[in-house]
Amino acid sequence: MPKDTGIGASTRRREDVRFLKGKGQYTDDIPPAHDQAAAVFARSTVANGVIKSIDTSVAESMPGVLAVFTGADFADVGGNPAGWLINSRDGEPMKEPKRPVLAHGKVRHVGDAYAAVIAETEKQARDAVEAIEADIEELPAIMDVKAALTSDNFVHDEIGTNQCFDWGWIEDNRRATDDAIKGAAHVTTLELVNNRLVPNAMEPRCSMASYKESSDEYTLHTTSQNPHLTRLLISAFVMGIPENKLTVIAPDVGGGFGSKIYHYGEEALVLAAAKRVGRTVKWTSDRTEAFLTDAHGRDHVTTIELATDAEGNFLAFRTETYANVGAYLSNFATATPTFLHGTLMAGNYTVPNVYVNVKAVFTNTAPVDAYRGAGRPEATYSLERVIDKCARELGMDPIALRRKNFIKPDQYPFASAAGLEYDSGNYDALMDKMEEVADVAGFAERRKASEAKGLLRGFGVNAYVEACGIAPSNLVGVLGSRVGLYDAATVRVNATGNLSVMVGAHSHGQGHETVFPQIVADMLGIDAQSIDIVHGDTSKIPFGMGTYGSRSLAVCGSAVVRATEKIIAKAKKIAGHMLEAAETDIELKDGQFSVVGTNKGVSFGEVALKAYIPHNFPIEDIEPGLEETAFYDPANFTFPSGAYCCEVEVDPDTGKVRVDRMTAVDDFGNVMNPMIVTGQVHGGLGQGIGQALLEAARYNEDGQLESASYMDYAMPRADDLPFYIVDHSQGTPCTHNPLGAKGCGEAGAIGSPPTVVNAVIDALQSGGKNVTHIDMPLTPHRVWSAVNNA
């Protein structure tokens, strides 16, 4: 019986009410301050150029203009930092060229901001931007990752190379991997591109800053997934504003998918402007700006080899990847293609040898960083495509080949050859369930039906395992992270028995306002409606590292549990005092504290009131009040896994691909709210199918982004996608967090792209077309070309 309330219930979301009524408050909705002013940026129209001069004199004198900033104003201000130090194979640390608030000396991608106008109105600021005379000497654009490595035209002249780093993992395994491949009975090789994507959260970025001179305090409202992290980055690295003088507030945020993790120059600019002009300064991105400047995702060029013995046992995976990091290092840009990618290159398999090489390359494009999946989609795509190709070459069934190499349920915890220890899983059970719910047995009939309509029908499958619930601070610290990745929660019980739960996570679609109260209510045995969360405001919440990397439940949720456990412990002490019993004799059930084996009890509400009106209270033993904080640092990543399959119809005459069925069977461990978890999978599937069939951020050779609007960048629409079949009944609990929960936010985007591509290849092969690979997106033109050139 599905539960009504508490952990495991599909409680409907309370935040929906304001969103459905149009009463959400996104950053751009905030009522204008009485002193509101606007910021508009002057952005480069060339991809690579030397700034010879910028004349702002005309702009400064235009109506309504309050100030004009250029890169020179920020020369002494710190650069936006890289959050993870990666060392190259030769022992050299990675290159970290400065990422300034405004471009200074050079512009390095189309859209790179080199000046900003602050004016009374946005229209006046826009007009003044057009009056800025910038003499920029255009240079050839550095666009191709391989050519960039041998070019002496540098994105950052001061480092004398376009290579950020050349990373190997695990170096000690390199020789054994090379040997395994040399001696193998069979080696499958595949070259693939993981196509560059634009996250395109529907809400464009927006930042608004104010400065209070009397107390020297700043407030920044901004579209962020992690206000405390943003505050930390601005404070410690960029502006130097002490954290206790800077409040960062992320109100309702319309999606992020990673693009709103990062600190961006616009945030620093509005802060500096607010102080300089003594006004509230707001900047709102338009969609074109978003395309040009929001961190892009993916953009790997990879060669992967899979070595097997004659029976199809996996002996080794070896990969070489060129990862485009763009013109500047975004905050997690160096972690995404390394420790969130290379460490997953053993997949679901017992393969004994893995070696990954990644060369990160600067180009004159927008910065590239984590986007839903952040490195794990890249790993899964490479693995599951080469496995599929291998199956064909060996004449083996693709599911059978995977099962043959799966880690078995009795092998956990499992130390993978790529360096991670998976805590739990059962990949065969996932595959069994997938075969059942997807009606794999019925595929043959469905293929006949498609063929009768003149269409080719293909079946594609994929297994994935991923590492999320980011992250164990000790481990990532050793690997080069410059931040900890724990999280925090404060549970505050008010005198009248209702609760405020301050969480370091941030909800921008994930339903935290509903799910966190479910958990606390379940633990305390009280009505979830009496519990509210507080999120998004650094002045109200002790700390947090925010929401990304499928971490809110696994990390912040665990902090919530620990804080609630502390509440229960103290409440039992108080109840013991009230009931004149030892606290060890007190049990909590359904919101009642009672002495074990008796009818004597007090309600949670009575205990709360007592805590705040501590008459006759043992103040030597118990402090008044009932509020507890917990910081939770996970012991490990969590390792969700899945078996996905997909059936496509392909029109051989037009190359058009239609996804007819998409099935996702995931192991998320213990599920808190099945409805919300399913929704997360749906969203990931939509984005993954989008990557596979539709989306491509395309720059031309001059560095112009040709897909800079929704006219040119194909976002999936409702009629591009089917209903999905989603199952998470085969959960194996996470062994190391109190919820037993594994992250679920990114799985759909990780497992779906290879599934779709595998299905299309299967369709074409079934029609006698000898096509072994097509790079994403599998547009009709690409599919048609592959068929006709095969």
């Binding site: 459905l20 959260a201 319309g254 969609r287």
Partner: protein, 161 residues
């Protein structure tokens, strides 16, 4: 500046606007009805859909002066006067048809127009009608399900959890 007069969610309003002021700007900035959102600059995304004289229109693609004399309904006008959610809004909540909420006003307004034109749409008809509304969060599954449920059709066969 030109004076425009219109009815918005049942109330008469009158404003002076510039010729170039978009309807969505007038709604958001002058009338402070911020439920109608701006998500793009090429009229694709649909976050700005409102009803003008009963038809769904993208408010970013219309000048305020073109709406002079019109009857406008925005998302703020969809709930009951007692604050209760409309059938469509309730269905979206019941079926988890929204996540971040940014596309949601446009989705609700478009859905309302669809169900007026086509009271019992098929799945394909709903998906086709939503071509002008982009969502990045939901993968559309629960949006389509919510709209079909709002039309009174049985959606129990559509996989839920």
């Amino acid at each position: 500046m030109t004076k425009v007069e219109m009815t918005v969610n049942g109330k008469q309003v009158s404003r002076d606007v510039e010729g170039q002021t978009l309807l969505v700007s007038m709604l958001r900035e002058d009338l402070r009805l911020t439920g109608t959102h701006v998500g793009c600059d090429t009229s694709q995304c649909g976050a700005c859909v409102v009803h003008v004289n009963g038809k769904s229109v993208k408010a970013c693609t219309m000048f305020a002066i073109e709406a002079d004399g019109a009857d406008i309904k925005t998302i703020e006008g969809m709930a009951g006067s007692d604050g209760s959610l409309s059938v469509i809004q309730s269905a979206f909540q019941e079926h988890h048809g929204l996540q971040c909420g940014f596309c949601t006003p446009g989705m609700v307004m478009t859905a309302a127009n669809l169900l007026k034109d086509n009271p019992k749409p098929t799945e394909a008809e709903v998906r086709h009608y939503l071509q002008g509304n982009i969502c990045r969060c939901t993968g559309y599954h629960n949006i389509v399900k919510a709209i079909m449920a709002a039309s009174g059709q049985d959606v129990s066969a559509i996989a839920a959890e």
